[in-house]
């Protein structure tokens, strides 16, 4: 069992069609490697994601968008802003740093 099992993940980018999709693929890679079985993985645009973020356990986005989720963070959502959205090692490290891994 992992701490991340059954968690709800959301990945956001400006349009919800380009980098968020890539980031979701990176996330899938990382979760598969860690043997995590998430409840759901959702990708969307920032405009949708901003209001929906508190309903998710973990929100991932490019670093420049991370501050847009400050409200959700206050409500307990973990927000991970990444420099390179395609880097699986960076994502895994960010999860580790946020205390999401065992």
């Amino acid at each position: 069992m992992s701490k991340l099992d059954n968690k709800k993940f959301m990945v956001c980018c400006a349009n919800g069609a380009g980098s968020s999709l890539m980031m979701k693929m990176t996330l899938q890679k990382v979760l598969t490697k860690l043997g995590v079985k998430p409840a759901s993985l959702h990708h969307c645009s920032l405009s949708e994601g901003k209001s929906a973020a508190p309903n998710y356990d973990v929100v991932l986005c490019a670093r420049n968008f991370a501050n847009m989720f400050a409200d959700a963070e206050k409500k307990g959502t973990t927000v991970l802003g990444l420099k390179n959205i395609m880097s699986a090692p960076e994502m895994e490290q960010a999860m580790k740093d946020a205390g999401l891994l065992d």
């Binding site: 349009n15 670093r63 699986a88």
Partner: protein, 161 residues
């Protein structure tokens, strides 16, 4: 085997090789040209992309000189799903990101997304290309569509993680 995205780019004529562009905005416009000429996007599709980058910053520029200009899935002006390729010889400066890092591109992979499944497949393939540095180097040196295909044959995608 199904066609790869680079093969599709060559077959559909969705490529452009230029030496330099006047600005990143001009680069985005030119990168959409082959898609517009073939009717995959409307002639003014590029304006949405420019607006978006002006609003949110150069987040579409990744590591290793790669830019992926795009608009929304099902965006107005995206008539079909495709990727347009453009190689610029000189650096295209997209300005600084929020960390003050200069964002530079020479390879443009411009997205038009209409069909979600085909778009997802394109994105999966692009991600494998963007994390394959020898292939990116070869594409930066490409001068002809044949060079694109040769680059892909010489440096097939690998699992990186």
């Amino acid at each position: 085997m199904a066609e790869t995205i680079l093969q599709k780019i060559v077959e559909r004529g969705h490529y452009k090789f230029v030496d330099r562009v006047d600005s990143w905005q001009d680069g985005v416009r030119l990168s959409c040209e082959s898609l517009a000429e073939t009717g995959y996007v409307s002639p003014d599709y590029y304006k949405q992309i420019v607006d978006c980058i002006e609003k949110y910053g150069p987040y579409v520029v990744f590591d290793h000189y790669v830019a992926m200009p795009h608009s929304q899935e099902g965006a107005e002006g995206a008539n079909q799903t495709a990727v347009g390729f453009m190689r610029v010889k000189e650096d295209v400066d997209f300005g600084k990101d929020e960390d003050g890092e200069q964002k530079i591109a020479r390879l443009f992979f411009t997205l038009a997304a209409k069909d979600p499944n085909e778009h997802l497949d394109n994105m999966q393939q692009l991600m494998a290309i963007f994390t394959n540095e020898p292939l990116l180097d070869a594409l930066m040196a490409a001068e002809t569509p044949e060079d694109i295909l040769k680059a892909e044959a010489d440096f097939p995608p690998e699992e990186d993680y």
